[in-house]
Symmetry: C2
Subunit: 215 residues, 2 copies
DNA sequence: TCACTTAATGGACGCTGCGTCCATATTAAC
DNA sequence: GTTAATATGGACGCAGCGTCCATTAAGTGA
């Protein structure tokens, strides 16, 4: 969080070259598109992280953002798509995947990050609700695959392919399947919480796969 | 809706060449509880399998079953819980888990059954939507764990524990984690369809885990 | 500078579904 | 046969959806 939010709710930015006499009051009339979009995304992210998907509605986002519903419908096709963008706007989105040369250590590091995310932040719960919503919201499903699961999956596959070239992984295994056996297993516990998501779980995932189950 | 006279003749006339003799126009008054429950579950299952969770509403189930909403609210706390029971009522629910003595073959058999279920029947899609709904429906989440995921998970763990006693699996692996790496991986592809669910996928899941990823 | 174009707002609309509440009708239980 | 139980139809207020309009302000170019 920076100390100088340029578009705070309270006042105009005095650093702008054009002085604005009455920026606080909102009424009818045209407003800068970026400003409107920012207000919407900010409100959507806040509502999503604080109360979750169950009470997330277009009307509430509009009211919180001080924006009309039409402005929202103009840019987002469904409440799920809006929620996803709100999530991205609210959450630090680090897509870094370490590649230190030790594939086993790198996988464990990433899985530990997942454990931490679900244990110590609301992000895990929110992502689970977004995946849930995407089951009956095609627009969200498409956006989720394109902007969330797709890039992450690709990144993990690439790291494993490099490990295969280094000879650290059997060349005949399909890295795409391994992704499902590591992160898919995590999402499984996130979405169907029969068992907890712990550090031991993460360690077990890697150990089982690397060593194999045979005695 | 026109106001129909209280006599039985004028109630549901429009399409009265239906081969079903039973669905006589119903009016007010007490009915056998089992009969009402059956009508509700039957309608819920039919609606769920034919149109999915997106258009599944209490009102529609009530109308289809020829039942008042109150009768539904009397027995089910949420639409998700009703949908789950409707699913069980409509789908052949085989919980058999083979234990031939060859754990690798048995796991593959079960995973192939999952592939078949998602490819050739609407059950996979429906289960995915139920899991999705359960993310924002605590009643459904509880019922799903108790009646669906819990028993299935337990069964798989028991089979693997027996395999451990037979010496077919390393004694130090946690079967609960293996469940996530096999079925969790399948549900991952079901819920986030970046990659298809195929026989090769099922075979790869088992092969990766049994042999291990190391060269 | 000023007229013109663009677009966001408040407010309203009809619709669906929710969850609840009755009065009534009818069967099940005694 | 009488009584108690309960399912039904119908209505209620509420929330949210998705769309539409007239108003009003910001941006644009001459």
């Amino acid at each position: 969080m920076t100390t100088a939010p340029p578009s705070g709710t309270s006042g105009a930015d005095p650093q702008e070259s054009t002085p604005r006499p009455a920026p606080v009051r909102r009424g009818r009339g045209r407003r800068p598109a970026d400003e409107v979009r920012h207000d919407i995304l900010s409100a959507a992210g806040t509502l999503l992280l604080s109360e979750g998907m169950a009470t997330f509605t277009i009307e509430r986002v509009a009211a919180t953002a001080g924006v009309s519903k039409m402005s929202i419908y103009k840019w987002w096709p469904s409440k799920g798509a809006l929620a996803l963008d709100g999530y991205f706007a609210a959450v630090e989105n680090t897509l870094a995947f370490p590649d230190t040369g030790d594939i086993e250590a790198d996988l464990l590091t990433q899985l530990r990050a997942f454990v931490h995310l679900t244990a110590d932040t609301p992000a895990g719960r929110v992502v689970a609700e977004l995946i849930g919503q995407s089951q009956t919201d095609p627009d969200l499903a498409a956006a989720f695959r394109e902007h969330y699961s797709g890039p992450r999956r690709r990144l993990a596959v690439e790291v494993m392919q490099r490990a295969q070239l280094r000879g650290q992984l059997r060349p005949d295994v399909d890295p795409r399947i391994v992704v499902d056996q590591l992160w898919g297993a995590c999402y499984h516990r996130l979405l169907i919480p029969d068992e907890p998501i712990t550090e031991e779980f993460a360690a077990g995932l890697v150990a089982n796969l690397m060593r194999g189950l045979r005695p």
